[in-house]
């Protein structure tokens, strides 16, 4: 069983990270081709492995700007299988509504993926009710000493965080690192996982990512959300998919695409010391340039300091 990597590597000794940006105007485009070709550029070690896709399924989303779009999830699943993965599992532990089946019906995931078996270690896992295992939090950034995390996530060979490109009213932005709140099981910690708020949202994000660092990131930024995210903001068309082999680098680049300064996001600036690269000079930029896709996002008043000066 892979109990996830605990790669606490100082930034100065970590090799450069790679982030790839692709322009994709609409979900109706050939996402399979875009994602498959993008993943090939990273030469990922997934042959005969079990890949786990951690989508961001928050809740009912009739207009498609809250959750990772099912077309992106389905295309990623197909791409990893084409690239030789033995199994590709999908899952999430929605934070506010424990009726995960209702959310799946609402987002019409099966219309894009085809039939999905349901349960721990099957095609779709509700991480809220997965079997759990104790994971000590060695970083101790928050007040938490340990968390009980889903075995399906801990046991996967290759862990992919697939967030939506969104601002967040408590954390500033919610991207691949904040997306990992969804692996904290509601059956243990509730709906919402309020213990993480009391332990400090930013510091909890650090602890969880240090305990279960994603191996890869795919950000759905075709249609994002600005303002009062993660559920009550406004849609923001950005027209990008973003790929990265380092969650800190991917999230930092996503911030720059949103016209936000990653160094002003508390958890990102802390993560840059041990979990990945934030500085643009240490990120190998592939595909489109950040400038060519930059789309300033509005934030709630408390996070105005995140905005790059010209978009304040």
């Amino acid at each position: 069983m892979n109990l996830r990597n605990r790669q606490l590597i100082p930034s100065f000794s970590r090799p450069p990270s790679r982030v790839l940006i692709r322009k994709v105007a609409r979900y109706a485009e050939d996402l399979l081709a875009v994602i498959y070709e993008s993943l090939r550029e990273f030469a990922l070690p997934i042959k005969d492995k079990t890949v786990f896709l951690k989508a961001n399924l928050v809740g009912h989303d009739p207009h498609g700007f809250i959750n990772t779009h099912p077309a992106v999830i389905a295309a990623a699943r197909e791409s990893f299988l084409k690239l030789g993965a033995a199994r590709v599992l999908i899952g999430d532990g929605p934070a506010l509504d424990r009726d995960t089946q209702a959310i799946l019906e609402s987002v019409r995931l099966r219309e894009f993926t085809g039939p999905l078996t349901y349960g721990p270690g099957r095609d779709f896992s509700d991480l809220n009710i997965d079997d759990v295992e104790r994971v000590p939090l060695e970083t101790r950034a928050s007040l938490l000493k340990e968390l009980y995390l889903p075995k399906t996530v801990l046991g996967a060979d290759f862990f992919v965080s697939m967030p939506k490109l969104k601002t967040h009213h408590w954390a500033g932005v919610t991207l691949s690192m904040k997306n990992l709140f969804g692996i904290v099981p509601g059956s243990c910690y509730g709906w919402p996982k309020n213990i993480l708020h009391w332990a400090g949202i930013d510091r909890s994000i650090l602890d969880i990512n240090a305990a279960a660092r994603p191996d890869f990131v795919i950000v759905d930024g075709i249609l994002g959300m600005e303002g009062n995210g993660p559920i009550q903001g406004n849609p923001k068309h950005t027209g990008v998919l973003l790929f990265g082999d380092d969650p800190v680098a991917a999230d930092s680049t996503a911030c720059r695409v949103m016209g936000l300064r990653p160094e002003k996001v508390d958890y990102l600036s802390r993560a840059a010391t041990m979990l990945g690269h934030m500085e643009a000079t240490k990120i190998q930029q592939l595909g489109e340039s950040v400038a060519s896709v930059r789309t300033p996002f509005a934030v709630v008043p408390e996070f105005q300091a995140l905005c790059e000066p010209e978009v304040k």
């Binding site: 209702a102 408590w170 509730g190 309020n194």
Partner: protein, 336 residues
């Protein structure tokens, strides 16, 4: 799918340790064990071995302070304590376990409405983007966090189950009348605050979400399951316009329900209030036992309870427990 098929499925899913897992192959957990036990407690089938095993598992998991952990290995109790207490209250010879559990619940105050937090908020050092009335206090999912709708509802359901069994929070519950009177007083105080909290957290237009009806000035949307648990918890409370509005929201929303879990709990809720169950795109009987079990023992159990027309919980338990205690005023009025 007949109820008997679901019962057979639940029977097969029970582990040798007496507990039930969420899914086949998983470890026994307190929550699915409680729901399965409630099914068998309401079943006319010969379920004594299932019940004995389940009770043994629950007793073995209770922590010395009276609470239950949500998973094996977790050293502190949490929201499942309410669920375990309301489950054990259905059975004889569990009084001691229930008593210490209720004592733990009465001592478990959320941190968000503590005097220290109120003091901090008065200086603007804590973020205030929600419009809660901090005078009300319920329960959190984990100790020393914030009040939320569902754990508060489960605690009220535990109190209600106890009242149904022992109307004066009862004779026979504990041997010492002094302790009993103190516990009854604590329950009464916590109950009033919790009912006030539920009404305070109702969403505009009726119904509940997790407990944030309005964030940054934007109304949140109600969800089926939190609404149902809140309504079931308020079944024994006096008539209130918020409750009427929320029942109306649930009836209107029923036609949009597509999942077995929400269908089952919504049906349980409406029937507990003697209200007709509207039609929905799918009926519970459209789901196979295997399909329901795939979604978890809790979903299979909710469906089994809903399909059992002779169930005592939650329907009959409330028939003799309606009180005349007035809840505190809420901080906002229901929308027309």
């Amino acid at each position: 799918m007949p109820l008997s098929a679901l019962l057979a499925h639940l029977h097969r899913a029970q582990h040798p340790d007496g507990g039930w897992p969420f899914h086949a192959g998983g470890r026994s957990r307190v929550e699915p064990t409680c729901w399965a036990l409630l099914v068998f407690a309401n079943s006319s089938a010969s379920a004594q071995p299932n019940i004995a095993g389940g009770l043994h598992f629950l007793r073995s998991q209770q922590l010395p302070d009276g609470s239950w952990p949500s998973a094996d290995g977790i050293s502190s109790g949490g929201w499942v304590t309410s669920l375990a207490a309301l489950t054990l209250a259905q059975f004889p010879a569990c009084e001691k376990s229930v008593h210490v559990a209720l004592e733990w619940l009465c001592d478990d105050y959320p941190r968000d409405s503590s005097r220290w937090q109120k003091f901090l908020k008065s200086f603007g050092t804590a973020k205030q983007h929600v419009s809660h009335n901090d005078e009300f206090r319920g329960w959190g999912w984990t100790p020393r966090t914030s009040s939320w709708v569902e754990p508060t509802a489960f605690a009220l359901l535990a109190f209600a189950a106890l009242r149904a069994k022992t109307p004066a929070v009862g004779p026979g519950l504990v041997s010492e009348p002094g302790i009993l009177a103190e516990l009854a007083s604590q329950i009464s105080d916590r109950r009033a605050l919790a009912i006030g909290l539920l009404y305070d957290r109702m969403c505009a237009g009726g119904g509940w979400n997790c407990g944030n009806p309005r964030v940054y000035g934007v109304d949140g949307e109600s969800l089926i399951l939190p609404t149902c648990w809140a309504l079931l918890a308020l079944r024994t409370a006096p008539e209130h316009p918020h409750r009427t509005l929320s029942l109306s929201w649930l009836q209107k929303s029923f036609a949009t329900i597509a999942s077995a879990a929400s269908l089952a709990v919504a049906q349980l809720t409406l029937e507990t209030y003697d209200l007709p169950v509207p039609s929905a795109p799918r009926q519970l009987t459209d789901f196979s036992a295997a399909e329901l079990s795939e979604q978890g023992t809790h979903v299979a159990s909710w469906a089994a309870l809903a399909l059992n027309s002779s169930r005592a919980w939650p329907l009959r338990f409330y028939e003799s427990t309606v009180t005349n205690q007035q809840p505190p005023a809420t901080s906002h009025q229901p929308q027309p």
